[in-house]
Amino acid sequence: MKKALSAILLAVLLLSPAGCYDYSEPDEKAWVMALGLDKGRQNVLTVTAVIAVPKNIAGGGGGQPASGGGGQGGFITVSLETETLLSALELLNAVMDRKADLSHNKWFVFSRELAEEGIGKYFAPIARFYQFRRTSSVIVCQGRAEEFLAKGQPKLEDNVGKYYELMHRGWRYTEFIPFDNFHHFYIKSSSPGIEPVAVLAALERKSPVYETDAPKTMGRYQAGRIPREGGGNIEIMGGAVFRAGKMLGTLNGDQVGVQKMFNGTFNRTIVDLPDPEHPDQYIILEVEPRQAPEVRVQISDGYPRITASLKLEGDIISIQSGVNYTRPERLPDLERAVEEALLENVNNTVAKSQELGADFLGFGLHAKKLFRTWPEWEAYKWEEKYPLAEVTVNVDYRIRRSGLLHEMEPLQ
């Protein structure tokens, strides 16, 4: 009798938490994969939810995706006019048969218009909400977020969540996609001494971006201004600089690369260098970090004097002219040319950060080591002093490998 009672008690205790209140069937949820925020037309905000359509993601058998390969049907979008972001989550249930859930949300997309007005007030409620994850990406899109998300069909994936995740993961192998996800964006936003950079995105521009075929380094491009045909509708390149929750300006691909070099999140990039002996031809090199950046900050007459050194290395990928730069005595010429090209980018980026009054390069994080206590550091008001700082940067580049060829023979 005692054992039977114990067994019944145990069964009641074990089964009730699993099935009574918080039972959750994944196929009864509407998984929100991205949320977009625009200034509202009929209310304060237009909140757009991208909701995965699992039956189209699961695959149609025989290796054929159910959606027909183009990602069509892998998601639907719903745009709602609400006062706040999270009230849209409840309102979604008025138009969806499944319960909306943010647990798998990958992207928070803010329209540029809203970002320039300020998005700080939308951050705190999101961070507090239990379904939300700080690993989501923060995207600023040119134009309206609802259009951006509705037209942003993946081409290679059926799973829109994977598409969003892989798009931002490009930061690992390109210089021009910012690293900052929501977590980094948030902690940088609340910390004096560094400012966050969100991913800049746009829909493909149909009309020509440039009128001439004059040479342009790819790093000058940014989302919405990439001359191209084909591919996915969405492009992400460059960054949106924020301070105090408000977008101040944009960075192109090269400037994002420099930001990542100083933030320690730069992995690699490819530099097209005009050949010193044949200016109409290019030498293509890979650039990788050799060491963490060295930054020294001194304060003289109340203003910062910053000295930084970027130590990089890389490989020769291609030499169009066939000139034998790979001989040991010629390599320093190439290294110097790369250093000059990179230094120009660095100086442009430093100038941009001072012009915007936003230390997105994070020099302030080095400056705060000079202070004994936090109140002393806050009282210094770095954000006011940084635009007037004297910044000297040195770039040191070393070629390590020359690819699968050593010395080339000229074409006959």
Partner: protein, 368 residues
């Protein structure tokens, strides 16, 4: 059949003391340090640990004079039943209030992270039932359960911390002195009540191997201090100051940050058992200790009838805070602050009485 005498081994005793002190890291422990010491909050657990060690030495000095007796019995002999009644009331408050706030806190954590639609009373009931069962079985069962789960606790914690290393940002440690050395010291001293759980030594002392009380106390406090320091350190490096000061449950948020590729996300549920184990052990120990204090006070031989009664009392107290912010505030205001100071005051009074009355006197219990 004769009932065997209860014995707790040294490693079991160290484990139970370590978990009893440090289980709070899985709740809102350390939240106020970031407000008081800013980015130097990692120094506060170190200050607390030294204060806790001082408290242990004081407690050990008293206990060693009365081998085989617990703190309530010692107090009765030295201060008499009336004054000792007040002291025992303090001990009871520490155990019951600590258990009640922990019970509510851990239940609210489960509510916030895993079971948002389940009524809080249901979650509280589950924890209470588990704690009553283990607490009823006595200190041996509690300590052996704790010792058994120690490996799980340590390995899981190390894995969790290792997985967050890529998120560490060392710049947050500067400016090195945060709000200033004096403020850090003040924060450590005023929150030293986080180590008031050393009181447990005074309850389980009769069950410990002879001559090992100091070893148990020092190691238990030192390991707990290191554990608490590690969690504060990791929270600070992952979330950086000032963002870290906003978190209600830093250890939970750390586990939500783990991201090791597309298939290594949302793994916080793997780390949930650690917090559940640690807090269940805390609750079981608290119920046993509270029952034991009452038992000694009433001069009864069996503590067990008091365990369910204590559980009911703990549940009742657990529902007094109206909401989670109030719960956190009460914990900081009534337990973290000054409670170790109050315990030290009681111990000093008892030591003074010992000196004046010339009682006790067995300094080295090895000789007994």
């Amino acid at each position: 059949m004769m009932r065997q005498q209860t014995v707790i081994g040294v490693s079991e005793a160290v484990t139970i003391l370590f978990i009893f002190i440090s289980a709070k890291t899985f709740l809102s422990y350390g939240r106020q340090f970031f407000h008081e010491s800013y980015n130097a909050a990692w120094m506060v657990p170190l200050v607390q640990t030294f204060v806790g060690l001082a408290g242990v030495l004081l407690l050990v000095t008293l206990l060693q004079k009365f081998p085989g007796r617990n703190l309530v019995e010692i107090g009765e002999e030295l201060a008499g039943p009336y004054i000792n009644g007040l002291f025992a009331l303090f001990y009871l408050t520490v155990f019951i209030l600590g258990a009640a706030l922990t019970l509510r806190g851990v239940s609210e954590r489960v509510e916030a992270g895993y079971l948002p639609n389940t009524p809080i009373s249901m979650v509280v009931l589950f924890f209470a039932v588990g704690a009553v069962v283990v607490g009823y079985l006595g200190p041996e069962a509690v300590s052996r359960t704790a010792r058994f789960l120690l490996g799980v606790l340590l390995v899981t914690t190390m894995v969790l911390i290792a997985l967050t290393v890529p998120l560490w940002r060392f710049h947050t440690l500067y400016p090195l002195w945060g709000s200033g050395p004096l403020e850090i010291l003040k924060s450590g001293l005023t929150s030293s009540g986080d180590f008031v759980q050393i009181l447990l030594l005074g309850i389980i002392y009769p069950f410990l191997p002879g001559g090992k009380i100091k070893q148990v106390g020092v190691w238990g406090v030192a390991i707990a201090g290191f554990f608490m320091f590690t969690y504060i350190w990791t929270s600070l490096l992952v979330f950086t100051y000032p963002a870290v000061s906003e978190l209600a449950l830093p250890s939970f948020e750390i586990s939500r940050m783990v991201n090791i590729g597309r298939f290594g996300q949302r793994v916080e549920v793997l780390f949930m058992p650690v917090s559940i184990f640690a807090n269940l052990i805390f609750l079981s120990v608290s119920l046993y200790a509270a029952a034991s204090v009452l038992c000694s006070l009433c001069k009864l031989r069996d503590y067990r009838p008091f365990v369910p009664a204590m559980a009911v009392l703990v549940q009742t107290v657990a529902f007094i805070p109206q909401n989670v912010p109030q719960l956190i505030y009460w914990n900081e205001a009534y337990l973290s602050k000054y409670s170790l100071g109050a315990l030290a005051g009681i111990l000093l009074v008892l030591l003074l009485i010992t000196r004046f009355k010339g009682k006790g006197g067995v300094i080295d219990e090895k000789s007994t």
